[in-house]
């Protein structure tokens, strides 16, 4: 009898639970279940800092351009839109975006956190990324030399949305060494190990005719990384004014109005923020608010970005910019390169040599109060032209020289000039000499000053 009674009791309990769950789940509140169409599927997250120190968060999200129910997404059109808001903290800004759209942001699938050059301290961003439930550890994190908003606003047609293209560009660049590791977890790993040092690649926008003078521009824009105070007071005023306007417009007015206001905002903003690059406003995305998917508002492009150089972050603050060459050298030393084509001159002809990393040996030794790190790179070569043995040898030597110079450049810049541990020295010390590692933990700067890196390149043909 008791058996039977228990069974009944169990059934009743299940029923009660079920009813309660129905009630609690349907009640609007914390546990409200949201369907997919009530979520903003965020592709990428852009973070800028306004002149008064607030965060401007830009969300690039799905806004499908399809025709009818059978083809909900038309890949020939840009299927994304952006929304941005300003608040004191990143979560607050996101929440304001959510309120604007009346949907909940779903960050679980964002692929990129883009930091505008005005971001002077990455620790709040990292904190946010780590502690927000749903953000993947594999999310890419990179800097841009413009504002994040500008980059995310660009409409492109080669992929479904621009963050996807960016991610693919990252992955491709990582193979040929022009980009460093940029997954969130690797940044955190580096920062944990080295008291806040890491390297983040820089995304740039392709400009119409000024591509040749990239490097000069870089150096000229170096100073403004993480330093929004350097901008002119006129810009500040303009920004503030427009931002306020846009905030009001998108919250209270109809969508068409908000569109126009945000358009004016972004164009004026790009004008003001691009002291060094004056040509960008023509393509600068016009999408502030929700409605930026309209085709007429701007031209969509096939490609719009490239990766050029990287920012050295030290003590969680952007410190210096590495050029493209330096980044390639760094990649050779750190994680290896799948394939990088290097031009070598044999006599008068120019040959292309494809270089890939095969093996890396490292050794740490102490000589005359100096910590000497010997890195022996084994590289494999492939030639695109038929060459004689001798020619091959010369080509290899030339390529070796080139790579050596790249590596040296990276060492000079990062280690000698900035004294930043981006060569995994902490790990080398830890694995080879524990006493030194302890010292490194205690006094990183001093130890790093003593470090010398020797590069030796062994070719494998």
């Amino acid at each position: 009898m008791s058996r039977f009674g228990l069974k009944k009791l169990l059934i009743i309990a299940v029923c009660v639970l079920f009813v309660f769950s129905l009630c609690s789940c349907n009640a609007t509140g914390r546990y409200e279940k949201r369907d997919l169409d009530e979520k903003i599927i965020v592709h990428a997250l852009g973070v800028d800092i306004t002149d008064d120190g607030k965060y401007e968060v830009t969300l690039q999200m799905l806004a499908q351009q399809g025709s009818g129910s059978s083809t909900p997404i038309d890949p020939s059109k840009p299927n994304s839109a952006t929304v941005s808001q300003i608040a004191d903290t990143i979560p607050a800004a996101i929440e304001r975006c959510e309120t604007d759209l009346g949907k909940k942001a779903f960050l679980g699938h964002s692929e990129l956190i883009l930091l505008g050059k005005s971001v002077s301290d990455i620790s709040p961003v990292l904190d946010f990324a780590v502690n927000t439930q749903g953000i993947s550890l594999g999310i890419f994190m990179a800097y841009t030399d413009l504002t994040a908003k500008e980059i995310l606003d660009i409409k492109i047609t080669s992929g479904t949305y621009s963050a996807e293209v960016l991610k693919e560009i990252f992955e491709e660049s990582k193979k040929n060494g022009t980009s460093t590791e940029c997954e969130l977890i690797r940044h955190i790993d580096n920062i944990e190990n080295t008291n806040g040092t890491t390297v983040m690649p820089i995304i740039k926008k392709i400009k119409d005719n000024k591509k040749t003078s990239d490097e000069e521009e870089n150096s000229s824009s170096d100073e403004s990384f993480g330093n929004s105070k350097g901008e002119s007071s006129k810009t500040k005023a303009g920004n503030e004014k427009v931002e306020n306007k846009s905030g009001k417009g998108s919250q209270s007015d109809s969508s068409s109005e908000s569109e126009s206001s945000s358009e004016s905002e972004s164009s004026s903003e790009s004008e003001s923020s691009s002291q060094s690059e004056s040509s960008s406003e023509s393509e600068g995305g016009s999408g502030g608010g929700e409605e930026s998917g309209g085709e007429s508002s701007q031209e969509a492009e096939v490609t719009a970005f490239y990766i050029d150089g990287a920012v050295i972050v030290k003590n969680q603050k952007p410190q210096a910019v590495m050029t493209r060459d330096e980044v390639i050298g760094l990649s050779f030393m750190n994680n290896g390169i799948a394939e990088q084509t290097i031009n070598a001159k044999i006599g008068d002809t120019l040959t292309a040599v494809s270089v890939g990393s095969a093996k890396k040996d490292t050794k740490v030794s102490i000589k005359d109060n100096k910590i000497v790190v010997d890195i022996n790179l084994n590289l494999s070569y492939e030639f695109y032209q038929t060459l004689s043995e001798k020619e091959k040898k010369t080509a290899t030597e030339k390529a070796n020289e080139h790579i050596y110079s790249l590596c040296r450049k990276a060492i000079e810049k990062a280690l000698k000039k900035e004294n930043a541990d981006i060569f995994e020295i902490h790990s080398l010390l830890n694995h080879n000499d524990y006493v030194l590692y302890e010292e490194y933990r205690k006094n990183q700067e001093e130890v790093l000053k003593k470090v010398d890196i020797n590069i030796k390149i062994t070719p494998q043909i």
Partner: protein
């Protein structure tokens, strides 16, 4: 019968969300703790050889009725504490990883009901479910590890010098979680294999799995471990396959299954212990009482969001584990021997 399976399975589970303070300390502390555990089960095995078909409560009850009842209640009490801790842990995990998911009381209530149902169906149902849950756990672990294999790197390993206090803490922490010691004395009459074999098999398996998990975590996550709360789940969040973008929610089912098996086992133990002590009451009524008690205690804690170790876990449970799992078998091994002469 398949108790070997069971013990294996929850061993593995207990360690999934391990607190990371220091890999080296953890490995050393864990190894030492395991060695101690191996020693601690010896009296149990001797007891098993003496009374292969009687659990410890029955032995105690036959010797002295009052003491027997007391021991039975102690066992049930310990089981309630263990379930309570498990639920709190589980609640904490759900609270952190899936915060807007379901009300916590519902989550825990559902696990409790399923566990109750399992305990109600008896040890064999639990054992067989455990077998499948174990297979599921291994499968998900292997998938996650395989998905991460390209992301593993030795440069992520950072050695540290172990500190004594840390090791000591680790040993203590590990031993206080050795609640399986409570299961053996009650469940061994159901074991069809040799008791020693199944116990040591379980301990060995636990050791292997913990080492495996630590290895994978360290190789992939690197220093991110220092700030991670549930490293095993971060593994899942980081793993990526071409069908499934993230595997952390994929690990959730494995974790729930394992949690449910463990809860069910302890409910069953409490039921058996109480049934020995109170022969007049129907055993399923006792089971209901235990389950409701455990659920109520845990809910009270969970709803107030008190997750951390409390006095009950640290002190009382440890004492109970040592008392019931080690001292009692010793007493009966040697005490009984004298009486027989």
């Amino acid at each position: 019968m398949v108790i070997l399976f069971i013990s294996r399975i929850f061993y593995s589970m207990t360690f999934i969300p391990f607190k990371y303070n220091d890999v080296t300390c953890q490995v050393i502390g864990f190894s030492i703790a395991t060695a101690i555990e191996c020693l601690a089960v010896i009296p149990l095995i001797i007891l098993y050889k003496k009374h292969p078909d009687k659990n410890i409560c029955q032995v105690a009850y036959e010797k002295s009725k009052f003491l027997g009842i007391l021991i039975c209640i102690a066992f049930a009490f310990a089981a309630v504490l263990v379930i309570n801790r498990l639920f709190r842990y589980f609640g904490y995990f759900m609270y952190l990883t899936f915060p807007d998911f379901l009300p916590l009381w519902l989550v825990i209530g559902a696990v409790a009901i399923v566990s109750f149902y399992a305990a109600f169906q008896g040890i064999e149902a639990i054992a067989r479910s455990a077998g499948i849950a174990f297979a599921f756990f291994i499968l998900s672990f292997v998938i996650v590890a395989a998905a991460l294999i390209t992301k593993m790197s030795f440069s992520n390993v950072i050695y540290t010098y172990p500190k004594f206090s840390n090791i000591w803490h680790e040993i203590y922490y590990e031993l206080s979680r050795f609640s399986e010691l409570l299961l053996f004395p009650i469940l061994y009459p159901y074991v069809k294999e040799k008791a020693g074999k199944s116990i040591y098999g379980a301990i060995a398996l636990k050791l292997i799995f913990v080492y495996l998990i630590i290895t994978v975590c360290v190789l992939t996550l690197g220093s991110y471990l220092n700030i991670s709360k549930f490293p095993f789940f971060d593994l899942g969040a980081y793993a990526e396959t071409f069908i499934i973008e993230r595997l952390d929610a994929f690990l959730l089912p494995a974790w729930i299954l394992v949690a449910f098996v463990k809860t069910a086992l302890f409910m069953f133990v409490a039921k058996i212990a109480l049934a020995t002590g109170f022969k007049r009451v129907k055993s399923n009524v006792l089971l209901l009482i235990v389950s409701v008690a455990a659920l109520a205690v845990s809910l009270a804690a969970v709803l107030q969001e008190k997750w951390s170790f409390n006095v009950w876990d640290k002190g009382v449970l440890s004492i109970l584990i040592i008392g019931l799992g080690v001292l009692l078998p010793i007493a009966y091994c040697f005490g009984k021997g004298d009486e027989n002469e």
